[in-house]
Symmetry: C2
């Protein structure tokens, strides 16, 4: 009998999460759709293709600079759908609320969910509310699941990266992770840090208009850019090289990471996407992202190579090269 216990690390989005999912959960639930392991499941239905995705949100604190748990729950599932090239349409919402939770706070969350749903142009069509006794849950948890339609010609998947492809990011990294961490520790910085929580479905639609050569899309949430690229490298069986100097990062974020000894490559983003695209189309895709209001700081940060399949390397600004592994250990529980 297995006497091991679930650790925080199993929810980090890093190596332990990956192991739990691939070795235990996939072992029991295995089927061709689930086994694809993309941000959304994709399948045919009524003669068209659909994307279906789910995420539970347990972020602490529930209100933070740049957003709250409600906005995060809408944007997060909208983005997971968009990362398969889908047009997000319908969301479900499941609340688990601790007895004694202020109704005024619930109302603030509902207002921000509604605002986020309107911005992303999705409808909340079904829901569920559970209340658990005091201390059986911490304040409020929200699950959102979502459905979107995938246009016929679209084929975006973690396994589609090819040697020669360019790796793009839609903006500065680590904003959400560092914001939540500093909030929780009660640290104050001169320039207030803000979560980057944002819906990316319009950006993806714009990208798809200018190019048919978008191979992979993924939003680097839990586990950060480092872990997400490792997942793609492994699914596509390719190597990756990043250029540290090209990584967009706000000065305050970089300063806070140094101060706290955190690697921004492993901190969560909630309004950024990574795109792996053909070299030929990279420039025009970059330009398109930069025209979107959530993509002004977008950059090409690396390239896909044949060597070292499944591995990600970074060329540092002082000229060295180091390996970027999956996140090991939990930097920060309840980041999203």
């Amino acid at each position: 009998m297995n006497t091991d216990k679930i650790l925080l690390d199993h929810g980090s989005g890093g190596r332990a999460s990956h192991k739990l999912i691939t070795e235990l959960i996939l072992h029991y639930f295995s089927n061709p759709i689930l086994n694809e392991m993309n941000d959304s499941a994709t399948f045919s239905m009524n003669g068209g293709r659909l994307a279906f995705s789910t995420d539970s949100y347990t972020v602490d604190p529930i209100f933070f600079p740049g957003g709250d748990i409600g906005e995060l729950a809408i944007n997060g599932t909208v983005n997971d759908l968009a990362m398969s090239g889908a047009i997000p349409l319908y969301l479900s919402v499941g609340f688990i609320i601790e007895e004694g939770f202020p109704i005024a706070d619930l109302e603030k969350i509902l207002i921000s969910m509604n605002r986020a749903a309107e911005e992303a142009n999705v409808k909340i069509v079904t829901g569920d509310t559970k209340v658990v006794p005091k201390h059986a849950a911490d304040k409020i948890f929200i699950n959102t699941s979502g459905i979107g339609t995938i246009p016929d010609s679209v084929d975006i998947s973690g396994k589609n990266g090819k040697p020669g492809d360019k790796i793009l990011i839609s903006g500065t990294i680590a904003d959400h992770g560092i914001t939540i961490l500093t909030q929780r520790e009660g640290l104050k910085f001169d320039s207030p840090l803000q979560s980057d929580s944002a819906p990316l479905n319009r950006m993806v639609a714009e990208m798809m208009t200018v190019s048919k050569q978008i191979h992979v899309l993924r939003d680097p949430t839990r586990g950060g850019v480092g872990t997400t690229l490792n997942e793609i490298a492994s699914q596509s069986n390719v190597g990756m090289i990043l250029f540290e100097e090209q990584l967009p990062m706000q000065e305050e974020v970089s300063g806070a990471c140094e101060l706290l000894g955190l690697d921004p490559l492993y901190l969560a983003n909630e309004g950024k996407l990574l795109a792996v695209v053909s070299e030929n189309d990279a420039a025009k895709i970059l330009e398109t992202i930069q025209k979107n209001k959530y993509g002004k700081e977008a950059a090409i940060i690396g390239e896909v190579v044949e060597n070292n399949p499944g591995k990600v390397f970074i060329k540092t600004s002082i000229g060295g090269t180091r390996i970027v592994d999956m996140l090991t250990g939990e930097q920060l529980p309840r980041i999203c």
Copy 2:
């Protein structure tokens, strides 16, 4: 500013839940699909009709006679989809797990979810796992969302009840609720009580084969038969009369309810459906339900009337008539 707090009663499935949902949640999320307030949202997509439903499961204890939280999470969402006449196809699963939860218990839950999914002929196609620190959640919570297709001719909705219709139940009432309660209180009964957790999608498919006159289907979970019929009476703007003598109930359940002072009409069921059907087809629908392995004790328990729209009455076995209101107050938190 609203200084009220969320109470356990807000999660009971009864009057307070109804008020929270209609006055607060629908106020912010209002749209024609959500406002239908059926167990599933239904809408057109890719030229066909889909059902989409979500539920979070917080039952305590997580293992109980007749099932566990995992089986409940699969059957519950399968049933919600089936209650709109849909064929359930794809499920998502979102786990929120407390740090320190035994992996062996998670494995038992995964096995029973897989078994339940196989029996209901649905696939788990996407998922999410969050781990929260010790004491931030009690053991494990599971959200499942699901998608199904609705055959073209089907029109089943809470608003379709008509005077003259018969009200059917697919078996004995209150089995799940009383089982959880006695487990929690550590009460022992001679004949062990068991949850009725079961998938009802095959039963619904069989019913639809013999009749086009199924007006309403709903599974009386939280809030029980009493609350569920009140919801239907109100949505259809009709009255209802139940016959106490016709209500199927196990002797042990009835005994336990008497002992504990609980009204079985408000106790949760997790493998039963209520059907409101045309008088003409009632007998053959009943016969069809009784042929299903989960429907042996099915019975016609009442009828829809024109008088007293929105109200449910019961003719008691000693000849009186009393009103059956929605559940008020929470009999039992974390029943599902």
